[in-house]
């Protein structure tokens, strides 16, 4: 009863984009406003809709209205990301050369990282600023146009840049993953940058918190077989894990 109604609300909202409580009351004439309110609350907790004053809107719709601010993004699934970042930080050895992307997970990694003598390349300026506090780390920033939503830079020229530099490990994260589409992100130039990066790296470590699974973003930059190690959290589905292990990928 409840379950069905909630599903129906979610569907309608996905279709219409945005609805007022009043409109919802018309759709469900023999359910009280209170109940509908509670349904919306639950849907919001599940991350399927955004509640706004007077009603609710689908997640897609809200992205249209305003590009997700960087600071907002950092609050999503924080705990899982920190755990993943800690695991990844342990993989960086003294003296190694590492590429790190500019995402929020990489940001946590920078915070957790020990102050080892090593070389880090990154396209995230927040990451670079965080790392700058560590005395021993040698940091190189990949230049380009700055995207304000995730504070990372990307440029077509970066590809040429990678030709002149060497690194063993690339540690990156994706904003979406499905077995069919692979790892994807929201920015075409960034996708190209990561592809060039992977060609250069001997090993690719992917940090992927479980909330990203099943989502699809416009630009795929890697498929399952492109990565060597997957670092994830405890909620990672078992069938996915098997899928990776079948491809000889270490899952942490």
């Amino acid at each position: 009863m409840k379950r069905e109604r909630i599903e129906e609300i979610a569907e309608i909202l996905d279709k219409r984009g945005k609805m007022s409580l009043e409109q919802l009351e018309e759709v469900f004439p023999n359910v009280s406003q209170m109940t509908l309110r509670r349904d919306l609350f639950q849907l919001e907790e599940d991350g399927r809709i955004i509640r706004i004053r007077g009603g609710a809107m689908s997640v897609k719709e809200v992205q249209k209205v305003s590009g997700e601010a960087y600071t907002q993004k950092t609050t999503i699934n924080t705990d899982a990301k920190i755990v993943i970042a800690q695991k990844a930080a342990g993989l960086i050895d003294e003296g190694s050369c590492v590429f790190l992307d500019g995402g929020t997970t990489a940001m946590y990694l920078s915070k957790e990282m020990p102050d080892l003598k090593c070389n880090i390349f990154t396209n995230g300026i927040a990451v670079a600023m965080e790392l700058a506090q560590k005395k021993n780390i040698n940091i190189t920033v990949v230049g380009g146009q700055l995207m304000k939503d995730n504070l990372s830079t990307s440029s077509p020229a970066a590809k040429a840049y990678f030709d002149t530099t060497n690194f063993e490990i690339a540690i990156v994260s994706a904003t979406a993953f499905t077995p069919e589409q692979g790892f994807s992100c929201n920015n075409q130039i960034e996708a190209e940058l990561l592809k060039s990066c992977f060609k250069k790296a001997r090993q690719v470590y992917m940090m992927l918190d479980s909330s990203k699974i099943g989502k699809i973003n416009p630009y795929t930059f890697a498929r399952i077989e492109d990565i060597d190690v997957l670092i994830t959290d405890d909620n990672f589905p078992k069938d996915c894990k098997r899928l990776f292990e079948e491809n000889n990928i270490v899952v942490m």
Copy 2:
């Protein structure tokens, strides 16, 4: 709902130091200005932030604690630098392409700058992060090795990079100046970068607070005749001023 929002505001302010109501409205797109005002009021009552006209700032920002090398530097001759930065900020027009260095004065300039539609190139990542808060400014970061003392990047490849980009104005500052040695800095690669930059720029604006006069640093990157406009403070010596004006340089 309210509690969460207030916590988030506090966090963002801790991170950014200072924010206008307008910026907060962008972060919380479906919350009215009124509500944000009230949240700030409550946060101020709790002693977590300080409200200022047009917005609010974190308590830390007010105290301006000195810790890292960078922040220490920012305390030297702060007032003069802010005045200079304000003057320089007024020189940037809508639609213009500007190169900005990564120094502390440029940092103040970024803070003071209005949110105009324009393109800014910089080699300072702190500058880039500051500018990232402005919606309309298109930012490009010049990549390279990161120097931890001033959070700016430099690389020999930047020279080639300038060949592919265009800008009208270069706004830079020096850490030392004498009439004989010209403008100098502490880093050879940065000096080279600035030299290439000047070749490309139609106009060079130099921001120089009077405390820098008479000092010499190892690497000269510009002589008096290389610049077009000098922006300085009230303590600038008169004989120096005459010297610049003899070279047809505008002194502000």
